[in-house]
């Protein structure tokens, strides 16, 4: 049975990917909010924000990318919730397949769907004048951090997907995650914020991730931010993974 784990997971992932490709509106919806925020900030507020020598669209794109992921994973929870409700999970669980493959299929699909949304948002940012002289290694690092962040948030999304009582409950958890970049260094330098807000902004995960991505894309040194960012991502990933698996075992026992 273990030897079938990869094959079975691939088959199950093919199924959930079809759910994505047959409701492309979910990808559009995921991308539209961050794009709207980007338009607002660049063309309305951006002129009033002093970001030094960095153009505003270059400055805020990292935060926009994180918002894209945070809103994208609510559909992961939504798809998982649908499977729990529909009884198809029970069918899979009563079959001789590796049970964990059922969850991994959703996680891999979440990665693919989010990458598509991120590419869309990147495309719009390019049209709006985003430019980067970053080298291949920096781009790979950017991609790696975005994927790690997506994985961490996806495992968070698995928890409400498995435990929610209603479809609204399954996706409502993502609102605070979408909001978090606004109280960070994503849109305005934290130096302008009043004391307690600034303290929060500088110590929450988004700021270190945003600073790292921004450093990589604008070819500035990333300093210790990269380690703080990786530690946050890895920490969230491990904790969420453990809780998701506990919820999963509770649901299927």
């Amino acid at each position: 049975m273990a030897t079938h784990f990869l094959g079975d997971t691939a088959v199950l992932t093919g199924r959930t990917l079809r759910h994505v490709t047959r409701s492309l509106d979910t990808i559009i919806t995921t991308a539209i909010t961050p794009i709207a925020i980007m338009l607002m900030f660049v063309y309305v507020f951006g002129g009033a924000i002093d970001t030094g020598s960095v153009s505003y669209v270059n400055y805020m794109l990292p935060g926009i990318l994180l918002i894209t992921i945070a809103s994208g994973i609510s559909y992961t929870a939504f798809r998982l919730f649908g499977d729990m409700q529909g009884g198809i999970f029970e069918r899979f669980h009563s079959m001789p397949i590796a049970r964990s493959g059922v969850l991994w299929a959703h996680v891999l699909t979440s990665l693919v769907a989010n990458v598509i949304s991120l590419v869309l948002v990147f495309g719009v940012a390019l049209l709006m004048g985003f430019r980067s002289g970053a080298g291949v290694l920096s781009w790979l690092a950017v991609a790696g951090i975005l994927i790690l962040f997506t994985l961490a948030l996806t495992w968070i999304a698995v928890i409400p997907g498995l435990t929610a009582k209603s479809v609204d409950g399954a996706s409502a958890f993502s609102y605070p995650l979408v909001f978090l970049p606004f109280i960070s260094s994503a849109f305005v330098p934290t130096g302008t914020m009043p004391g307690p807000v600034r303290a929060f902004a500088e110590h929450q995960p988004v700021t270190s991730i945003v600073n790292t991505l921004r450093g990589l894309l604008t070819q500035q040194p990333v300093g210790t931010d990269v380690w703080t960012a990786l530690a946050w991502c890895a920490g969230i990933l491990v904790v969420a993974y453990v809780f998701a698996n506990v919820s999963y075992r509770r649901r299927i026992s």
Binding site: G7, V11, R18, G86, G87, R91, S94
Partner: protein, 235 residues
């Protein structure tokens, strides 16, 4: 690990249940259920709404753990040999477990791939034909009627020819025509040597289909009797 097939049968009855107990918190749903199902026969578990039929089926198909008792399916213990049990069974739950976004054919191919049968496409087409779904096969299941979903659900359970099949209230909510189609599918299964355990709320349905009927009431089997199916069946 061995993957049992319909041909590789362990000796003894297909299903063996002794002293099965299960509670949900304070609610004692099963209080010592005993029954046995001989290989190749149709067994009907009859009980009113809330009697515990679904609880029994979920325990037999390894989805739920028993509090006490011994349960063996195809010779394998559901608690300690769950993987072997799953390789021996197919479950058609009380509510159709089909993927609404996929087409009927894609649903069948999906299960065929997961069961590692050869030529998943050919198997899917053959089952679509057998269940009169060939024309609907390319349509998304979301557009299907209740009867069509049920038929697809049962067709999905037949893939890989498991020796034991559980059908939890397979005709609930169906119109008379669809009900007859499901009955025919169950009879066909039995003719091919599959052991069928089905649950129902209707004595008439149990009498029509089953070789043996057990009535589940207040957590126990209160009647367990064999009947001659040919006297009540219209075939």
């Amino acid at each position: 690990m061995s993957i049992p097939t319909a041909s590789a049968r362990a000796p003894g009855p297909a299903i063996h249940v002794r002293g099965l107990e299960r509670s949900y918190k304070q609610l004692r749903v099963l209080r010592g259920v005993d029954f046995e199902v001989a290989r190749g026969t149709i067994f009907a578990l009859l009980g009113s709404n809330g009697a515990g039929k679904t609880t029994v089926v979920r325990i037999l198909s390894t989805l739920l753990k028993a509090d006490a008792g011994s349960v063996r399916v195809n010779g394998f213990d559901v608690a300690t040999q769950a993987a072997d049990v799953r390789a021996s069974i197919s479950l058609t739950g009380q509510f159709a477990a089909v993927d609404e976004i996929l087409t009927g054919r894609e649903n069948l191919v999906l299960v065929a791939r997961l069961r590692h049968v050869r030529q998943p496409g050919a198997i899917a087409d053959e089952l679509l034909r057998r269940f009169s779904l060939t024309e609907a096969g390319a349509r998304r299941v979301a557009t299907y009627s209740g009867g069509m979903r049920r038929r697809l659900d049962i067709a999905m359970s037949l893939i890989g020819t498991p020796p034991v099949i559980f059908l939890d209230e397979p005709t609930a909510g169906l119109d008379p025509q669809a009900r007859i189609e499901v009955w025919q599918a169950v009879e066909e299964l039995s003719e091919r040597g599959t052991t069928v355990l089905l649950t129902t709320q209707y004595l008439e349905e149990a009498e029509h289909l089953a070789d043996r009927i057990a009535i589940l009431h207040q957590g126990r089997i209160i009647v367990d009797g064999t009947q001659d199916r040919t006297t009540t069946s219209n075939k």
